[in-house]
C-alpha cells in the first residue's frame, strides 16, 4: 500500500505535463493572433479601419456569405435530418461522398468547379441566356455554397442527433403526421443547435477563399471578399491593409464562435 502511494505521488508529472502542454498551446495561438495587432499598432489600426475600402470589402464578405449560408441551410437542414434519422444501405459510403467537399482541399474544389461551369449545362446556359457563373459574384456564391453545403449538412446532423427520438415517437403516437411532427416538434427542439450551426456555417462561408483562387479570381470592388483580398494585397505588398484585414477576419471568427457558444451549440460534433 505504501509503495502504491509512493508511485501515485511520483506520477504527478502527468497532470503537470498535461496542463503545461495546454497552456503552451494557448500561449502559441494567443501570440499568433496578438502578434498581428502588435505589429500594426494603434494609430495604423484606426487609420485602416476608417477607410471606406475596408468596409466595402467587409459588407461584400458579409452579404455573400449570408446569401450562401441561406442556400446551404435550405439543402443542409433536411439533408442533415435524413443523415441523422434514416438508415440505408452503404450509409458510410454515401456519407463519405457527401463529406468530400469538406475533406478535400478547397483549392481543389475551386478547380473542379471551374471544370464544371465550363462544361455542358452551364456552358449552354451561358451561351444562350447570358447566365454566367465564373468571374463574378455568382461564382463567389457558388464556391461558398459548395464548400458550406456539406459542412452545413454535417452540423445539422449533429444538431438533430442531440434531439431525442422519443419526442417524435410520442408526437406520432398521438396522431400527428410525420411532417407535422418535424415542423412542430423536431425543429423547435433543435432550434438552438440549428441557429448555432448556422452561425458557424456563416463564418465558414466568410472564411472561404482557396476555392476562389482558381475559379473566380478577384475584381477590385466586385469579388474581392476579405480573405481573398488578404492574399491579393499581400502579393501587392500592402502590409498595412493585409494585417488590418486579418484583424477583421479574426474578430469575425472569434465573434461568431463566441456567439455560437453563448447560444449553446457545439463546435465539435462528436
Amino acid at each position: 500500500m505504501g509503495g502504491d502511494n509512493r508511485s501515485a505521488r511520483s506520477q504527478r508529472w502527468w497532470p503537470v505535463l498535461c496542463v503545461g502542454l495546454a497552456l503552451g498551446a494557448v500561449a502559441f495561438y494567443a501570440f499568433l493572433i496578438a502578434s498581428n495587432w502588435i505589429y500594426l499598432g494603434w494609430s495604423d489600426t484606426v487609420y485602416f479601419f476608417s477607410q471606406p475600402r475596408m468596409w466595402q470589402r467587409f459588407w461584400l464578405t458579409l452579404w455573400t456569405s449570408a446569401l450562401a449560408t441561406s442556400f446551404s441551410l435550405l439543402i443542409g437542414v433536411p439533408a442533415g435530418y435524413a443523415l441523422s434519422r434514416f438508415t440505408f444501405p452503404a450509409r458510410n459510403f454515401f456519407a463519405s461522398v457527401i463529406d468530400l467537399p469538406i475533406v478535400v482541399s478547397p483549392a481543389v474544389i475551386g478547380a473542379f468547379l471551374f471544370g464544371i461551369t465550363t462544361a455542358a449545362p452551364f456552358r449552354h446556359l451561358g451561351e444562350n441566356y447570358g447566365f454566367y457563373i465564373g468571374r463574378n459574384v455568382a461564382g463567389v456564391l457558388l464556391v461558398q455554397f459548395t464548400v458550406t453545403c456539406a459542412f452545413c449538412a454535417r452540423l445539422m446532423k449533429a444538431a438533430f442527433d442531440l434531439v431525442p427520438t422519443r419526442f417524435e415517437a410520442v408526437s406520432r403516437s398521438l396522431g400527428a403526421s410525420n411532417f407535422r411532427t418535424f415542423f412542430k416538434v423536431v425543429l423547435p427542439t433543435a432550434k438552438n443547435g440549428i441557429i448555432a450551426s448556422m452561425i458557424v456555417v456563416w463564418a465558414r462561408a466568410a472564411a472561404e477563399w482557396e476555392g476562389l483562387m482558381l475559379f473566380v479570381g478577384a475584381t477590385e470592388g466586385e469579388t474581392d471578399i476579405m480573405p481573398f483580398a488578404i492574399y491579393l494585397d499581400w502579393n501587392g505588398g500592402m502590409m498595412g491593409w493585409v494585417v488590418s484585414m486579418t484583424l477583421v477576419c479574426l474578430l469575425l471568427a472569434v465573434t461568431a464562435t463566441a456567439a455560437m457558444r453563448i447560444i449553446g451549440g457545439r463546435s465539435n460534433v462528436w
Binding site: A25, N36, I75, I116, D161, E210, L250, N268
Partner: protein, 320 residues
Amino acid sequence: MCGERRSGADPAVSAGPSRRSDHRAFRLFFYGFAGFLFLYTVSLFLGNLDQLLVTAGPEHAPEMLAWGSGRAVMTEFAGGFWKDPYFWKSLNLTVLLTAITTLVAALAGIPAAYALSRYRIPGRGVIEVLFSSIIVVPASSVGLCLIVMFNYGPLWELQQALGFRVAHSIFPGMVIASFVLSFALGLSAWKATFDSINPRFEQVARSLGSGPWRAFRTVTLPLARSGLAAGIILAWTRAMAEFGAVLLFCGTFAELPLSRFGTIERALCIDRADWLSVAVWAQIEYGNVEYGFALAFVMVIIGGVSAYVMHRIGARGYVW
C-alpha cells in the same frame, strides 16, 4: 457522445395505409435533399474526369508553361503524372510532413485536450472559443499571422541570431503551417472524446490507489481509443487539405535551385517539390491543366478514403 438514438423501430409499422403513404412521402422528401447533395458532389468530381484527357493545349503553347516545358510526357493522359519525379517528390513531401505534423499534434494535443477536459483551468470558456475560432479563421489569415509572427518582432531576431529561417523552408516552415489548423481541429476532437467519458471511472481507479498517469493509461485511454484514433485521422486529413497557410507561409519550391536544399531534404527526395494542394494550384495556374487535375484526383482519393475510414471507426461527425 451523441447519437445513440437512431430511429430503430419503424414508427409507421403499426399505422394504417394513409400513415404509411405519409411516411413514404416524408422519407422521400428528406432523401431528396440528401440525394441532391450526393449527386451534386458526385457530378462535381466525376464531371471533371474529361479534364484528364485534355492533351492538345500544351503542344500549341509550350511557352505558357512556367516549368517543364521540355517534358515529353505533357501530351499523354493526365499529363503523364506518374512518370514525373515532381509528382512523386510532392507526394513524398506531403505524406512525410503531414505524418510529422500529426505525430507532433497528437503528442502535444492529447494531453492538452485531457487537461482542458478534466482539470480546472481558469478561463476555460475563452480557451475553447480561441481553439474553435481557429477552425473558421480563413487560411489566408492564418498564413499571414504566421508570417507576421515569425518574420517580425522577437522571433525574427531569434532566427537571425541562430542563423536560420522558418518562413519559406520545408522543415520547420511547412510543418508549422500545417500544424496550426490540424492541431486546433484535433484538439477539439480529442477534447470531445474525453468529455464523453465519465470521469467517475478514473476517480474510482484513483481511489483504489493508482496515480494520475496510471489511471489515465489503464482506464481512460482504452475507453477513448477509437475517438482518439478518429481525431488523429481528422488531424491528418486536415493537414493534407491544408492550402492557404502553406501557400502564404512557404510558397512554392519547384523552381528553386538544388543548392537551396539541404542534404537531408535531398536524401528524402523532397527537394524541388511542393505541398500537394499547392502543386495542384501551381500546375493549373501555369497551364498544366490536366496534370493539375490528376493531382487533384489523387487528393480526392486520399480524402475520400480517410473520410470513409473515419465513418467506419464511428466518428459520428466532425467539422472544420
